[in-house]
């Protein structure tokens, strides 16, 4: 060992810890503002107004709620393709509980959210116990949920009663802020986001979530029951799917069994645009909400500019490409430093 060169132990001082995550959020936020300003310049009469902004926020709710759960799953390094049709199945179940079974509205809502949790638990078990790749496990669930929604509803929409269930629909379109027409749905999203943020940052669940995504084997060897926690995380993500089901049927006044597919991709897009890494171990709720807002602003902005629906998708696709590419560039630069 005498010939070995002794390099002095110098801890390289790189200010690359917590504030890099904050920078990521900042970038997304700046992106959101830039897109907003561009649309405002394009249509200064309509775009930067209270009613447009409210509409944008309102249209963010369903995708936003789904994206919260998707964030938790994606941070483990997994993916959840079942949130879209899972939401539809939850909506159908909720309508069944409340309209067909005449359960109290609060109980129906609670049971729907729990049902969403069960969908997530099955996903989690398939991933953690059967060892299926998350993509496959949740792809299968996506198809199962799509089919079950049609089976349970006999392929027909279930309508809520405008008088008996007014308070249910008020959850979305009503306003508890006196003297305003600010929709409750946005407040629901806000509360859900705060809960998700606390879960991710202040609880064991969040810490294990990040740890599993960062290095599952190391987490397991550290004495964490990673199977159990993976299941819990998917189940908790499923609760948000259940809430998504409530929010969409409250908005529509009905449960539409044939819809829902496509929402999972929007939710995943929101998560990714928000800076959460698809390889896991890194992500924030604030980022996800900003990502969902970016999607909403683009969709609404293009509508206001009378851009056809097809082109909205094209542009959204390009935005995802650019955002993820920039994120990868940053990661690569960080890796080579």
């Amino acid at each position: 060992m005498s010939t070995q060169t002794t390099s002095p132990e110098v801890a390289p001082v790189k200010k690359a810890g917590a504030w890099r995550a904050r920078l990521d959020q900042l970038m997304a936020l700046i992106g959101l503002l830039v897109i907003f300003i561009v649309f405002s310049i394009a249509d200064p009469q309509v775009f930067p107004t209270y009613s447009t902004i409210t509409r944008i926020l309102f249209s963010t709710v369903v995708v936003g709620v789904l994206a919260l759960g998707a964030t938790l799953v994606i941070i483990t390094g997994g993916i959840d393709l079942s949130v879209g049709t899972g939401m539809t199945l939850c909506a159908v179940m909720g309508a069944t509980f409340i309209v067909n079974w005449h359960l109290p509205i609060w109980l129906g809502i609670l049971m729907t959210i729990v049902f969403g949790g069960l969908i997530g638990l099955v996903n989690g078990a398939n991933v953690a116990i059967l060892g299926l790749p998350p993509f496959i496990a949740t792809l299968a669930m996506m198809m199962v949920a799509q089919g079950l929604a049609l089976v349970v509803s006999h392929a027909a929409p279930i309508y809520f009663d405008t008088t008996a269930h007014a308070s249910f629909m008020g959850l979305s379109t009503g306003s508890i802020i006196p003297g305003s027409n600010f929709p409750n749905a946005v407040l629901v999203l806000l509360v859900a986001a705060v809960i998700a943020h606390v879960l991710l940052n202040k609880t064991l669940l969040g810490r294990y979530d990040i740890s599993i995504g960062s290095n599952e084997e190391a987490t397991k060897l550290s004495g964490i029951n990673t199977r159990k926690w993976t299941m819990i995380i998917y189940a908790v993500a499923g609760l948000f799917t259940g809430l998504g089901g409530i929010m969409i049927s409250a908005r529509l006044g009905s449960a539409q069994p044939a819809t829902g597919s496509g929402y999972e991709l929007q939710a995943i897009a929101a998560v990714v645009i928000g800076g959460t890494s698809l390889s896991g171990g890194k992500g924030t709720i604030v980022g996800t909400i900003i990502g969902a807002l970016i999607i909403s602003v683009i969709n609404n902005g293009l509508q206001i500019l009378s851009m056809p629906q097809e082109w909205q998708n094209v542009i959204l696709g390009l935005v995802i490409l650019v955002v993820v590419f920039i994120d990868q560039l940053r990661t690569r630069r960080a890796a080579t430093n």
Binding site: M1, T5, G17, T203, N215, N225
Partner: protein, 525 residues
């Protein structure tokens, strides 16, 4: 050094030598892997190449095939400069390497593997599977291998896969030099004999073989000369007929470094905290038994693949066991997951620090508290951020972890400080039994010293430590007793007084000759 300078100064090699390696240097950050390395291979000979784990053999092979780039030095093949920059280029000029880890595509057939990248094609596009199979059969027949050319590689035994690997190397008509890195690690004696027969048939006055192995008895049988390297340096080359195995081992371990301090107090009077008996796994371990006493450092020595890491993983429940009892503080226990091991106070520090130890993208504090989050740092599921910060800071101070902040991402720390963070993880968890797998791998000398002192202190405090290490001086210096393993079995347990590098290497390179291990078992029953 630039490529232009390198080519301008390359002298002609000695055409009388088949492969000539001269003055090769290679360093990695913090470590000088090779310094002035040299050896030569004559036409028509088998040259044994030996050295301890980490002596630089693998680095040398990777330099020869262009996987790494050398800093200084020359390679000559038949007197011509050898400048391969990929393994394929090396093969085309006549140098084939069979690595210790097999490089076959498991889902392809034998024929497809052998001709991968050189498939016979018609019209420059369409493969000709029939032609490929025909050529493969010719090749296998010529080599006397009884393997189906159409068999899917994953269905073959490891020994057969090894044979396919060799057939692949010999399928290059131009192969003049065959380098084999531990080719017999997975073979039984009959298969070893078959391999040696192949080697003898391959060697002609135009060709030669470099045979890297730890198995002295085999080298004695197959090699004409033997070159010893140690710590990245060339030591000596001898005629195999003139030397004894003891001479070679003495040169491998080097007497100069055999002066380290030894642990003083023998711990034989202390209570046994962990008793493992008859531990076996499907893949490798057979009837492994040992006991660990309170305050003891129990060293695990052996060559790569001997099964030391597998013992650790089996004990903490990371891999399933097929037989064996674990008695912890007098109680028989079943440990089927690392979570259960941690709950019982057994912590395992993996040899693969980055792959299996750290959450690299997370802060130092996360890496320290992860194992104790649920027991110490949370209340009804909510994290106690203050307590986490406090524990991380005090660990940082206690272990002298050099980092600007415990919020720093652990990937920015040096290897030694990363290791300290993982040690801190298990100290915070307050484990009584700590299993350190290669605790100083890739760590510079200063930090190594700190980790040795830390281990000593922990043992003083009554912690029981299993230390797996491939560095014999380290094993000798730290261990109260040493378990030596080979081929998944315990070959002997030495006390600190009995152990020296020679006695350990003799046990570690020992092979049950004449009959295969399976037969031994049957004979005993």
């Amino acid at each position: 050094m630039t490529a232009v300078e390198a080519t301008a100064t390359v002298p002609k090699g000695d055409p009388g030598l088949l492969l000539q390696v001269e003055g090769v240097d290679k360093s990695f950050p913090g470590v000088k892997a090779l310094e002035g390395m040299r050896f030569d291979l004559r036409h028509g000979e088998v040259l044994g190449l030996v050295g301890e784990n980490g002596a630089g053999k693998s680095t040398l092979m990777k330099l020869l095939t262009g996987i790494y780039t050398k800093e200084t030095g020359d390679f000559h093949l038949d007197g011509e400069p050898l400048t391969a920059s990929t393994p394929k280029e090396a093969q085309e000029v006549g140098l084939s390497i069979i690595h210790q880890e097999l490089n076959l595509v498991p889902h392809l057939t034998v024929a497809e593997n052998i001709w991968l990248g050189r498939e016979p094609v018609s019209g420059g596009f369409f493969t000709k599977p029939g032609e490929q199979v025909r050529r493969t059969r010719e090749l296998l027949d010529r080599l006397g291998m009884h393997i189906d050319a159409k068999a899917v590689v994953s269905t073959l035994s490891v020994a057969q896969q090894q044979m396919v690997e060799i057939a692949k190397a010999l399928s290059f008509e131009s192969t003049k030099v065959l380098i084999m890195d531990e080719p017999t690690a997975a073979l039984n004696d009959a298969e070893v004999a078959q391999l040696h027969e192949l080697i003898r048939r391959f060697v002609t006055p135009q060709t030669g073989v470099v045979y890297i192995s730890h198995r002295m008895a085999e080298l004695k049988r197959i090699a004409d000369r033997i070159t010893v390297i140690r710590d990245g340096h060339y030591i000596d080359t001898m005629n195999m007929a003139d030397v004894s195995i003891e001479d070679v081992i003495a040169k491998m371990v080097g007497r100069a470094i055999n002066t380290g301090a030894r642990p003083e107090n023998v711990r034989s009077d202390r209570p046994i905290v962990l008793q493992v008996s008859g531990l076996s796994t499907r893949a490798l371990l057979k009837d492994v038994s040992f006991e660990l006493r309170r305050g003891e450092v129990l060293g695990f020595a052996g060559l790569m693949g001997a099964g030391r890491t597998e013992v650790a993983r089996a004990v903490v429940g990371a891999d399933p066991i097929t037989a064996g009892d674990i008695v912890l503080n007098g109680n028989r226990v079943t440990i089927s997951s690392p979570a259960q091991a941690a709950a019982r106070g057994i912590g395992y520090l993996s040899e693969d620090r980055k792959g299996l130890g750290l959450m690299l993208g997370q802060p130092v504090s996360h890496n320290i508290v992860i194992s104790s989050l649920s027991s110490q740092f949370s209340r009804v599921g909510f994290l106690r951020d203050g307590a986490i910060k406090e524990a991380s800071e005090s660990s940082k101070k206690l272990l002298n972890i050099k980092t600007p902040s415990v919020n720093q991402l652990v990937k920015y720390l040096s290897g030694g400080n990363q290791q300290k963070a993982i040690i801190a993880r298990w100290l915070v968890k307050d484990c009584d039994i700590l299993i350190f797998d290669e605790p100083t791998r890739g760590i510079d000398v200063g930090a190594k010293e700190e980790i040795y002192q830390l281990l000593n202190k922990l043992a003083e405090q009554g912690k029981s430590i299993i230390m797996i290490s491939s560095e014999l001086p380290e094993i000798l210096r730290m261990s109260h007793r040493i378990v030596v393993m080979a081929d998944g079995r315990v070959k002997g347990v030495l006390t600190a007084a009995e152990a020296d590098q020679e006695s350990i290497m003799r046990l570690a390179t020992h092979r049950d000759d004449a009959i295969t291990p399976e037969h031994t078992e049957e004979a005993e029953h």
